[in-house]
């Protein structure tokens, strides 16, 4: 490795860590709200932390706990939660190549498969950095999510206003847009992004939450069917 390459590596590592740190910071208030919501719904502390560590899937945890708190059945809470996590299946396909290795490593890294880790990982241009971004964001969110779940459960009973008052509910969308941004310069990627966004928005009123994100993947089919002259569909593969 030349000196210039080593310096380049250090720069990229820093850039990825910065992306991950912003996302982790944005997740913290939601962890507090989840902890508070779990307490309100009558869960024990170990159950709240169990959801945040064993299930580890933000929106699905909220859905399940909300339904439990409203007196919903075990089946309806579990199914709603699992439906929200079906998108992990697609995340797994996107990340599989970057997470190659012995089966036990793949099995361990899979637990970190969430929106944030996949978003940071998939935003990088080669396999090595995809894996790095996925792991840094995944581990960061895991640690902070669980700590803030405890804080929310123990300290805050109603933290709902904290998020909207500080505009933190716009932090997630902004982070996703920032990760998408470099891809928008490439025509095939841009068309896919537009198609995916349109499909997702149109489905919001008609499907269970979580399904629009999953269905957005069909945007790729639209892009590949039109226009057929595009041969550089590989986008960021270089």
């Amino acid at each position: 490795m030349t000196l210039a390459e080593a310096a380049d590596d250090a720069t990229r590592r820093r850039a990825i860590r910065r992306q991950a740190a912003s996302i982790v910071a944005a997740v913290a208030p939601f962890g507090i709200v989840f902890g508070a919501a779990a307490a309100t719904a009558g869960l024990d502390l170990w159950q709240a932390v169990g959801f945040s560590s064993l299930v580890f899937g933000g929106s699905s945890q909220f859905a399940a706990v909300e339904i439990l708190g409203d007196g919903g059945s075990i089946a309806s809470a579990a199914i709603a939660g699992l439906l929200l996590n079906v998108r992990s299946l697609a995340f797994g396909v996107i990340m599989a190549e970057a997470l190659a290795g012995p089966w036990w490593k793949r099995a361990t890294m899979s637990q970190l498969m969430i929106d944030e880790s996949t978003a940071v990982g998939a935003a990088q241009s080669d396999l090595h950095w995809r894996r790095y971004g996925y792991l840094v964001a995944g581990i960061g969110v895991f640690v902070v999510w669980n700590l803030t779940t405890i804080v929310g459960f123990v300290v805050f009973s109603d933290a709902g206003n904290l998020i909207t008052d500080l505009g933190l509910d716009a932090a997630g969308p902004a982070a996703f847009l920032a990760l998408l941004w470099p891809r928008l310069a490439i025509p095939a990627q841009r068309r896919t992004a537009i198609a995916g966004a349109l499909i997702a928005v149109m489905l919001i009123p008609f499907t269970a939450p979580g399904v629009p994100i999953l269905a957005s993947m069909l945007g790729v089919a639209v892009t590949r069917a039109w226009p057929p002259t595009e041969r550089s569909a590989e986008g960021l593969a270089s």
Binding site: D44, A78, S88, P173, Q189, I199, M217
Partner: protein, 102 residues
Amino acid sequence: MNAATAVLIIMTIGTYALKSAGPLVLGDRVLPVRLRQIVDLLPAALLAALAIVSTVGDGQQIVIDARLVGLVVAGLALWRRAPFVVVIVLASAATALTRLVT
């Protein structure tokens, strides 16, 4: 065992199965070129959907509120080549400010 514990166990097993299917089944296999091209495009659709759904989605309703201002400001900041952290902070501040004045 109460209801919450039952839901916790079902969701732990089910979610892990969904998360690990890709890495465990596909493993180190090198994907065929056609499939590779599709997988390379998937993140664009996914990131765009995550951004827009978390901006205008509220359960099964489309709600246009201050979050949209935040997303537009984020877009402007990105267009001006602002660093990642600055984009997030500006978007949050713009959203908070919009709520304050409306």
